[in-house]
Subunit: 417 residues, 2 copies
């Protein structure tokens, strides 16, 4: 509203049909089953126009006629439904030792959810270090290939692949820096496109926390909260930030690096090369290291999920040392979030990833610190919650990018058109 | 694009004229002098429509025919100009001891720029504490009344008054907290509207840093930078944040409280009640206190502008102690901005208010700390600069809200229509 770029465009009558197609589709997605007459009544479009638009959407396999009819005065009305069956969006996320894939149809139904371990850097797979970019990329290509085959065999056309990476991702899909993967300047979009042999679908690469907050915004317990932050916590800690219902990317796409806010000056070393970052102090691996110094060495924590389970077990048994570690971690999370709240005044911050399981012991301390560190009374109304989404939030958000495009009025292009 | 709220609306043909009026006006604002034929060629609207739209805009006193004509083939074309003469927007900012007013016409030309001192809380005006809400509000009403009289006498109609306050401002214009003014829960919009006796123009209240960044975005040296932050520094420190060309307000309007990021745990006390806030460590008053402990007591610094001038004088004379203070302040600014850059990846951060004069000694240290504290190489491309706008940036931004509305397609309603 403020900017010239966002100012009004000339009303081009040729665009009216595209806009109206999107309007009708949106109505069906929200209010199905509904009749053509319902659509005309709500949108203000005339009935002949609605019929023509619906015919177009049926041909594009986005809408179908249900067997239902509604009897009012006059002819029975055929009820319309979203046709979710023809298309799929695919989301894949990359961690140091695994690849996760989720596919959704246009109704938001989950079509598949896979997790595949990837062996580490050494041939034996036992080094504990992250797998090399080449190895991870080819693991992604393999998973994607299988998923696409599965979906195609089920009669689905994959329209979009979105790959989430825990790091700084440029607009062209190059991973500038992913310290938890040990990556610098990896042209992931290019390499994947080559490995997939010029696939017929769109391939995009995005920061994984950005994808996770899109999932939170669409499917989370606080869906559609306009000012919403999702904090990821796998090997690293990151934040996806939505303000006014829009994803914040920043100038180069490097926003949301919550894990690298300094919360303990001179504190422990972080994979990023600095000290005292939130990730190094209160990320899942840091928590594991503090709770079980005997098993966790200096390098990456092996099998982080199992180690977090062990931390949860100890906390459930009211192990004092474990609970103290989680309380201190919560304080540090609260401190980083206080800065975030002072700058952005979000309505909800959802702690995701490994923080979900740790939340019962971590959240109370984080809430206290957040309220104490925020100038607005009561943290400016910010609610700090555990995400209802699991570790595959980012993959879900990636798969849902197709739905985001649909919401934005961009209709899929079926193959052969 | 992501949200349902931002999704497509049905194309209402009744809105087409309003949209097209805004499109034509925008074209004239940017490209004047221009002919009706030029407008038709660029916008794709037909000439009869353009003529009708232009006639409407001339009647609304937004566009006028210039004396110029352009001779091409056929009839000479009358050239159109923006008619900036009929309307004015007024911006007023409130500080502890002064009120600043700026008026702009629709061409962005400055019509007036006033500054009025307001006596402090005691009757003698010598306490040094901030004036009471009642006293400040009536000072604002007096200044506004005089400005409106002056503008009206010059044939201008004031369409909008925007008042900037250094604090947390609710959407309804209540100042929830302004610690540098000592305000809590002041219904400023209501009180001002009463004091102005139900004025014929729109009255809005906004955080002053938000207004300053709107001025920076429109008139600054880095105007139209999509991801832009302006840091204010008068009695307090605040930030106005624009991301993707949109002002960030947050859930309740409490965003941008950069001055209350903790940059020195356990550091000096802040008027907000906490310790170690950026404002308490590296705000203008904190700098003055460190440079001239002999004159600055515990309370508010008297005549802050004169004191900052003295700091600048000492720095120019290469006074070691002063330069050290400014270097340390710069580090703290850089530390707070590193958190900001990690979260938001802005393209430009402009230091405004008193930081402009102090920038030669403060910026270098801030740049070093910002780069060191940011995970993205080189601060993620963020440029840290001194604002080219002065202390009245927020008042200018307030006056320009009328232009923002115009850019957003909202045409002014002339009186009597």
């Amino acid at each position: 509203m403020i900017t010239a770029q966002h100012g009004p465009q000339p009303a081009d009558f040729a665009d009216v049909r595209a806009t109206n197609l999107a309007v009708v589709l949106r109505h069906v997605r929200r209010h199905a089953p509904c009749s053509r007459a319902d659509i005309a009544a709500v949108t203000g479009l005339n009935k002949a126009t609605v019929s023509s638009l619906v015919a177009d959407l049926i041909e594009r396999r986005l809408v179908r006629e249900s067997g239902l009819t509604e009897h009012r005065i006059g002819r029975p009305a055929t009820m319309l439904m979203l046709d979710g069956t023809a298309y799929a969006g695919l989301g894949v996320t990359i961690a140091a030792d695994q690849v996760t894939a989720v596919a959704l149809d246009l109704a938001g139904e989950q079509l598949l959810s896979w997790r595949r371990a990837v062996a580490g850097g050494s041939a034996a797979g036992g080094s504990g270090g992250p797998a090399s970019p080449g190895r991870l990329t080819s693991a992604v290509a393999t998973v994607v290939g299988r998923a696409v085959n599965r979906l195609t065999a089920a009669g689905r056309q994959v329209l979009k692949l979105t790959v989430g990476v825990p790091g700084l991702v440029d607009a062209d899909g190059t991973v500038r820096l992913a310290s938890d993967l040990g990556w610098h300047d990896v042209d992931l979009r290019g390499e994947l496109t080559r490995a997939l042999r010029k696939p017929g679908y769109d391939v995009v690469v995005e920061n994984d926390a950005n994808l996770a907050v899109l999932a939170e915004y669409r499917f989370g317990a606080h869906a559609a909260t306009a000012n919403l932050i999702h904090v990821t916590n796998a090997a690293g800690v990151g934040a996806g930030i939505m303000l006014d219902g829009r994803l914040v990317r920043g100038g180069l796409g490097y926003s949301g690096e919550l894990g690298h806010l300094e919360v303990e000056p001179g504190g422990p070393a972080c994979p990023c090369g600095r000290r005292g970052c939130l990730e190094a102090v209160a990320g899942a691996a840091a928590i594991v290291r503090q709770v079980r110094p005997e098993t966790a060495g200096e390098g990456a924590v092996l099998d982080l999920a199992a180690e977090v389970d062990e931390v949860v077990r100890r906390a459930r048994k009211a192990d004092r040392a474990t609970i103290d570690v989680l309380g201190r971690a919560g304080q540090r999370v609260g401190r980083a979030l206080a800065s975030t709240v002072n700058l952005l005044n979000p309505e909800v911050v959802a702690l995701g990833g490994h923080y979900v399981a740790l939340a019962p012991w971590l959240l109370p301390a984080a809430e206290v610190e957040l309220a104490a560190g925020s100038i607005a009374p009561g943290g400016g109304g910010c609610r700090l919650v555990a995400s209802a989404l699991g570790a595959d939030a980012a993959a879900i958000g990636g798969a849902a990018r197709l739905l985001d495009e649909l919401d934005g009025g961009l209709l899929p292009r079926p193959s052969g058109t």
